[in-house]
C-alpha cells in the first residue's frame, strides 16, 4: 500500500468522510461500487415479492400502503444507483450484471411469499434487519452515500410500522390468522439469521476496514435479536430455534445459521432467484424504448 493510500485509510478509519470529487484509492472505489451496487440491486429486486401481493392484499388501505412501500423502495434503488454511477459504473452495466448474475442482491429477496403472513413478516422483520444495516451506513466514509441513507432510513422507519401493523391485525384476529404469522415466521427465521452475513471479525471485513460500514456482521445480528426477539415473544409467537437465548451478559446465542444456504441463494440458486431475474429482464427489455426516447 503506497503512502497516499495509507494516509487515506488512516483518515477514514479516524471517522473522516470523503466526497465524490476527492481522490479515492482504486481499491476503495471498487469496494464502494460493489457494496452500493448490491444495495441498489436489493432495493430493486426487493419490491418483487411484495409487488405480487398488491392485488391480493386484504383491504384497499393495505393495497395502497403496499403500493406506496413498493414505490419507496424503487425510489431508493434510483437514489442508490445514482451514487454508484457517480463512482464510475454506468447504470446499463449494473443492470446487465444484475441480470447475468454477476452482481448480487440480498438473500431475503430470493424467496417466495406464500401467504399474507409472509408480507407482514417481510415488512416488519426483514425491513427491521435491513434498517440496522442501513443505519450503520449513516456514518459511511463515503459522504454522498451517507447523505442518501438519511432519506432512506426515514422512509424505512414507517415501513417497519406498516409491517408491524399488518402483523398486529393478524395476531389480534382468529386462530387461523395467528397460525399464518407463525408459519411465515418459521419460513423466514433462517434467511433472517443469515441476512447480516457470516460472523467474520470486523477487522477482517474489507467493508469495515474502509469504513464503508461502521459495524461488523455479528454486531448487526445481535442488535437485531436484542431489538426484535422480545417483540416477537410478546405477541405469543415462537422463534423456531430451540437454542435461542439471551445470556446474563446480554449476548444472544443461537443455532448456527445455514451459511451454505446463504451462499447458494445469493449466487442465484434460491427458490425464486431465476424467476425474479427473468421478470426484471423482461421489463428492462420492454421499457428500453422509454429510455431511448428520453435520451433522444
Amino acid at each position: 500500500m503506497d503512502a497516499r493510500t495509507q494516509e487515506f485509510l488512516g483518515y477514514v478509519q479516524d471517522g473522516g468522510q470523503v466526497e465524490a470529487t476527492d481522490w479515492l484509492p482504486d481499491e476503495y472505489r471498487q469496494k464502494l461500487i460493489k457494496f452500493i451496487e448490491m444495495h441498489a440491486n436489493s432495493e430493486l429486486m426487493g419490491v418483487l415479492p411484495e409487488r405480487e401481493w398488491i392485488l391480493k392484499a386484504p383491504t384497499l388501505q393495505r393495497k395502497l400502503a403496499l403500493t406506496a412501500k413498493v414505490q419507496d423502495e424503487v425510489g431508493h434503488a434510483q437514489l442508490i444507483y445514482r451514487v454508484a454511477e457517480d463512482l464510475g459504473k454506468p447504470r446499463d452495466e449494473m443492470f446487465a450484471d444484475l441480470i447475468s448474475g454477476k452482481a448480487k442482491f440480498h438473500n431475503v429477496f430470493h424467496y417466495p411469499t406464500k401467504t399474507w403472513g409472509d408480507v407482514g413478516v417481510i415488512a416488519w422483520l426483514v425491513d427491521a434487519a435491513a434498517i440496522i444495516s442501513q443505519k450503520a451506513l449513516l456514518k459511511c466514509s463515503y459522504a454522498p452515500y451517507a447523505r442518501i441513507m438519511k432519506k432512506i432510513c426515514w422512509e424505512e422507519s414507517f415501513h417497519i410500522l406498516h409491517g408491524r401493523d399488518v402483523i398486529l391485525a393478524l395476531m389480534t384476529g382468529t386462530d387461523a390468522q395467528r397460525e399464518l404469522v407463525q408459519e411465515a415466521l418459521n419460513r423466514w427465521w433462517g434467511p433472517l439469521m443469515q441476512f447480516h452475513g457470516n460472523p467474520i471479525p470486523r477487522e477482517e471485513d474489507p467493508m469495515f476496514v474502509w469504513r464503508i460500514k461502521s459495524q461488523g456482521n455479528e454486531e448487526a445480528r445481535q442488535q437485531f435479536l436484542e431489538g426484535y426477539v422480545p417483540q416477537i415473544w410478546e405477541l405469543g409467537l415462537t422463534v423456531p430455534d430451540p437454542n435461542l437465548r439471551r445470556t446474563d451478559d446480554g449476548v444472544w446465542e443461537y443455532s448456527e445459521p445455514d451459511w451454505a444456504e446463504l451462499k447458494s441463494v445469493v449466487t442465484g440458486h434460491g427458490p425464486r432467484s431465476q424467476d425474479r431475474l427473468a421478470f426484471r429482464a423482461r421489463f428492462l427489455e420492454q421499457e428500453q424504448w422509454v429510455r431511448d426516447a428520453i435520451a433522444a
Binding site: Q71, Q78, L79, R82, E85, D86, R147, I148, K151, W154
Partner: protein, 94 residues
C-alpha cells in the same frame, strides 16, 4: 447531464445538498427530482444546479501558518520547476 439536488426541509432553513439526478435536460431533471426528493412532502423547496455550474473551493491558504520561520516552511521545488519551464518555453518560443 447531472444536476445536483439541494433540499430545503423547512421554510427559513438553509438548502442542503441531498444527492443528484441525471437527466437529458432541466425539464426531466425537474420531474425526477420532484419524484425522488419531494414525493412525501419532505421538502419545502428544491434547487437543481447543473454540476458543471458549481465552482467549488476546497483549498485554503493558512495565513497563520508559522512555518515561514523555518527552513521546511519553504517548498521551492515545484515552483522552481515551473519557473524553469516557463523560462525555457519563453526562450524557445522567442
Amino acid at each position: 447531464m447531472i444536476f445536483e439536488v439541494f433540499r430545503q426541509e423547512k421554510k427559513g432553513q438553509a438548502f442542503a445538498h441531498a444527492g443528484s439526478v441525471e437527466a437529458p435536460d432541466a425539464a426531466f431533471a425537474d420531474a425526477w427530482a420532484r419524484e425522488q426528493y419531494g414525493r412525501r412532502g419532505e421538502s419545502e423547496a428544491l434547487w437543481l444546479v447543473p454540476r458543471t455550474s458549481i465552482h467549488a473551493i476546497t483549498e485554503w491558504a493558512d495565513e497563520f501558518d508559522l512555518k515561514y520561520r523555518r527552513v521546511d516552511g519553504y517548498s521551492i521545488k515545484s515552483r522552481l520547476a515551473e519557473a524553469r519551464e516557463r523560462a525555457s518555453a519563453k526562450s524557445s518560443g522567442a
